[in-house]
C-alpha cells in the first residue's frame, strides 16, 4: 500500500512516502522553496515523494498529521476562556481559520486532485499520535516507552505512551496551555531570539552561563511534580491572548528588559539560558523516570520539538533507568508527516499489518531526500564554475576521500554534497560542511567566515563508531547527532594559565581538548557516530582522515548560512560555496578547489 503523510500549515511542512510499512522518501518543503520553516502546503516535497512510486502505481492513502477541527476547538476554547482579552490574537487568527483552515479537508483534496488528477482516500491522524508513531515504528524496539513533548498540537503538549509491536497506547497527557515547549519558546523570545526557530541557540548559549535563575523559574513560572507533570503560571505568559509569548510581568521577574534582536548578548542572558536548560532537564528526567517506572521499560522513544534538546537526551542515559534510546531525527513537526504515514499503515488497514523489526532502525540513516546523478552535477558545474577554480574528477570515492583528507589536514574547510539529502534538521554527512576538529580557531573561523552566525555557537563532531570511547564519555550510538556527551578525560588538555578563571563569553576560543573545534565551553559535544553499515561514504572519508592524521573525528555542521535552509540541489551547494569562505566543495565524485581562497 502506497501511503503519503503530510504535515503543513503551521511550520516545517513536509511530505513522506511509506510503502507497505517501509520508509521510502521524506523531505521538508523548506529545502525546495528555500524559505526556512516553510509552512505552506508541501507541493514540492510531495512532487519529490511520488517520483518514488513504482511505475503504474498510484497513491492509495494520504494522511494529514493532525486534526484541524480539534485545533480550531482549542482556539475557540481559548477565546472563550479569556475574552474580552485576546482581541489582537482573534483578529489575527480568526480570518485565517474561517477562510482557510476550517476547510482543510476540501483544500487538500482539491490540491491533490489538481496535482495528480485523482484524489486518494484522505484521513487525519492526531498531532501527538503522529509524533509517537514517528519515533516508535521506525525504532528497533519491539516494545518501548514513548515520550512526546512539544509546543502544542491540537490540545496536547506532552504525552506518554507504551508502544508494543503494532500498537501505541496513550497512558498520560498534559494539555494546553501547560507546555514545556511553550515555556522554552517564551524564554527564547525574552532572550531576543525567534520563538519556534531559535530554541537550539538558547541551548547552545546555556553552557556559558550559571543557572542562578532556575529556582525563580520553578517558583514563579512552572510548578513541577515528582512524576514530571507540570503546570505553567499563566500570569507571566501572553500566548493565550496576545501575539507575543510573554507579558510585561516576565521582564519584571528577571529585573531586566527583553533583549532586542540586535543587542549584544551579556552574561545575564547566558544565565537565563542555563537556568531554563536546568529546569527543562528536570522535567524531562522526571517524566522519563516516571514512564520507565510505570511501564517497566528500559527502551525509550522520543519525538516532538523538545526531543531535539540533545543535552537533556544525553542525560537520560546517565541519570534514569533507560538503557536504550531512539529519537526521531525529524523530531519536530516535519517528522509528523512520517508518523502520519505510519498511522495510516497501522490504523487504516484491516487486518492490521504486522510490524517488521530489524536489528537496526528502519529510518535508513534519515537519508530520505533527493539525490542527483553525475550528469546533473556535471551540468551544474559547467554552468556555474569560476574558471580559475580547479575541478578534479574521481572515479573512485576512496581516492576522493584521500584527497579531501589531505585538504582537511591542511586546515581547509569544505562542503560535502553527496547522496540523498537528510530528513530532519541535522546535516548528517550528505549536505554538510566539514573541517578538522583539531583546528584551534575552527569554531570562530567557521562561524564568522562561512556560516556568518553568532560566535558563541558550537560545532558538532562526527566520529568513527569504533573510536567513540576514545574521544567521548559516551557508550550509546548517536547516528543522528541527538545526544550530547562529555569529551573524554584522556583527550582533555590543561588550560593555559592565562585562560584559567575565565567565565561566560570570555571562555570563547579557550582550548580545552585535542579537538577544540568541537569541544564546547563546558567540555561537552553533540556527537554523531558513523557506522560503516549506516553511512558507508562518510565512514570511508573518516577512515581516510584517520589514516592520514591518526584522528577519526571531524567537524560536521549543516551546509547552509545563517537564516537559510540546508542546501538541497547542486545549484544551492555551488551558490553557498561561492558566497562563503569555503575552500573546497565535494559534489558527488567531483572536487572543486577554490583558487582565490586567500581573497
Amino acid at each position: 500500500m502506497n501511503i503519503i503523510g503530510i504535515s503543513a500549515f503551521f511550520h516545517d511542512s513536509a511530505a513522506s512516502y511509506v510503502q507497505d510499512g517501509e520508509i521510502v522518501a521524506a523531505a521538508e518543503e523548506e529545502r525546495f522553496t528555500r524559505k526556512k520553516h516553510d509552512a505552506s502546503f508541501p507541493e514540492e516535497a510531495l512532487k519529490y515523494c511520488v517520483t518514488h512510486l513504482p511505475k503504474g502505481e498510484k497513491v492509495d492513502l494520504v494522511v494529514f498529521y493532525e486534526k484541524p477541527f480539534l485545533k480550531f476547538d482549542r482556539l475557540l476554547e481559548t477565546y472563550l476562556g479569556f475574552a474580552p482579552r485576546g482581541l489582537r490574537s482573534f483578529l489575527h487568527s480568526f480570518p485565517l481559520w474561517t477562510k482557510e483552515k476550517v476547510f482543510l479537508k476540501q483544500i487538500i483534496k482539491r490540491k491533490l486532485k489538481k496535482k495528480w488528477g485523482y484524489c486518494p482516500r484522505l484521513i487525519f491522524s492526531e498531532h501527538h499520535l503522529s509524533h509517537a508513531a514517528s519515533c516508535f515504528y521506525p525504532s528497533p524496539f519491539e516494545k518501548a516507552a514513548v515520550l512526546c513533548l512539544d509546543g502544542v498540537g491540537e490540545w496536547e503538549t506532552t504525552t506518554l505512551w507504551l508502544g508494543e509491536n503494532e500498537d501505541l497506547q496513550k497512558l498520560k497527557s498534559i494539555n494546553f496551555p501547560h507546555s514545556l515547549g511553550l515555556l522554552y519558546s517564551t524564554i527564547t523570545a525574552y532572550l531576543g531570539f525567534l520563538p519556534n526557530n531559535d530554541e537550539y541557540k538558547v541551548m547552545g548559549l546555556a553552557p556559558y552561563g550559571r543557572a542562578r535563575f532556575s529556582e525563580v523559574i520553578k517558583e514563579e513560572l512552572i510548578d513541577i511534580k515528582e512524576d514530571g507533570s507540570f503546570r505553567l503560571n499563566l500570569e507571566y505568559f501572553d500566548f493565550c491572548t496576545g501575539l507575543k509569548m510573554y507579558n510585561h510581568k516576565l521582564p519584571k521577574l528577571f529585573k531586566r528588559p527583553v533583549r532586542q534582536k540586535d543587542e549584544p548578548l551579556e552574561p545575564f542572558h547566558a544565565d537565563i539560558a542555563a537556568s531554563l536548560q536546568v529546569v527543562t532537564e528536570e522535567v524531562i528526567l522526571k517524566l522519563v523516570r516516571f514512564i520507565a517506572d510505570k511501564t517497566g521499560q528500559r527502551n525509550l522513544c522520543m519525538a516532538g520539538g523538545v526531543a531535539l534538546n540533545c543535552v537533556a537526551n544525553g542525560k537520560i542515559l546517565k541519570e534514569t533507568p533507560i538503557e536504550k534510546i531512539w529519537i526521531q531525527p525529524a523530531a519536530g513537526d516535519s517528522g509528523g508527516a512520517l508518523g502520519a504515514a505510519f498511522v495510516g499503515h497501522f490504523n487504516a488497514q484491516m487486518p492490521k499489518p504486522k510490524r517488521v523489526i530489524g536489528p537496526h532502525d528502519s529510518q535508513k540513516g534519515s537519508l530520505l531526500g533527493p539525490e542527483f546523478g553525475p550528469k546533473k552535477i556535471e551540468k551544474v558545474i559547467e554552468a556555474s564554475l569560476d574558471l580559475e577554480d580547479h575541478v578534479m574528477d574521481f572515479s573512485e570515492w576512496r581516492n576522493l576521500c584521500e584527497k579531501v583528507a589531505e585538504l582537511l589536514d591542511e586546515g581547509l574547510v569544505g562542503g560535502l554534497f553527496q547522496g540523498r539529502m537528510e530528513f530532519g534538521p541535522r546535516a548528517l554527512g550528505c549536505r554538510s560542511i566539514i573541517a578538522d576538529a583539531r583546528r584551534e580557531d575552527g569554531q570562530n573561523h567557521i562561524n564568522k567566515k562561512i556560516k556568518f552566525r553568532e560566535d558563541f555557537r558550537p560545532f558538532a563532531p562526527i566520529v568513527l563508531r569504533e573510536d567513540l570511547k576514545r574521544y567521548f564519555n559516551v557508550e550509546h550510538e548517536s547516528p543522528y547527532m541527538l545526544l550530547v556527551g562529555q569529551v573524554a578525560e584522556s583527550i582533555k588538555t590543561p588550560l593555559n594559565p592565562s585562560d584559567e578563571g575565565r567565565k561566560g563569553f570570555d571562555q570563547l576560543g579557550v582550548v580545552r581538548s585535542k579537538i577544540p573545534a568541537v569541544t564546547h565551553v563546558d567540555g561537552s559535544a553533540r556527537i554523531q557516530t558513523v557506522h560503516p553499515n549506516h553511512h558507508p561514504a562518510l565512514y570511508e572519508l573518516l577512515r581516510a582522515f584517520k589514516k592520514r592524521t591518526g584522528e577519526g573525528v571531524l567537524v560536521n555542521t549543516s551546509f547552509n548560512v545563517k537564516g537559510e535552509p540546508i542546501v538541497c540541489t547542486p545549484e544551492d551547494a555551488i551558490r553557498c560555496f561561492y558566497t562563503t569562505g569555503l575552500d573546497f566543495l565535494v559534489l558527488d565524485k567531483k572536487l572543486i578547489i577554490k583558487k582565490r581562497r586567500e581573497e
Binding site: 477541527f69 480550531f72 476562556g81 475574552a83 474580552p84 498520560k172 510548578d223
Partner: protein
C-alpha cells in the same frame, strides 16, 4: 466538540460568509458584542478548562488522556 461537529456539518454556509470577512471593525464587534458576553457567562456558569492554576498540594498534573477519534476520515 459536539458544537464544532455541528458547525462543521451544518453551518458551513455561515463559514462561507466569514470567508469574505476581513473587516477589523466587524470582527471587533463580533468579539466584544457576541463572543465576550457569551464567554463571560460561560466562565461564570461552568468555569474554564484553561484556567487551572498551580496547586502546590496536588501530587500530579497529568490529565486523563484524550480519547482518540475512531473515525480517521473526520478532521475532528
Amino acid at each position: 466538540m459536539k458544537f464544532i461537529n455541528f458547525m462543521g456539518r451544518f453551518l458551513s454556509p455561515a463559514f462561507e460568509v466569514f470567508k469574505t470577512v476581513n473587516n477589523t471593525i466587524l470582527l471587533s464587534v463580533l468579539f466584544y458584542v457576541v463572543i465576550s458576553p457569551l464567554a463571560l457567562g460561560r466562565r461564570l456558569l461552568f468555569g474554564s478548562r484553561l484556567h487551572k492554576k498551580i496547586d502546590k498540594s496536588a501530587h500530579s498534573y497529568f490529565e486523563d488522556p484524550q480519547v482518540m477519534s475512531e473515525n480517521l476520515e473526520n478532521p475532528f
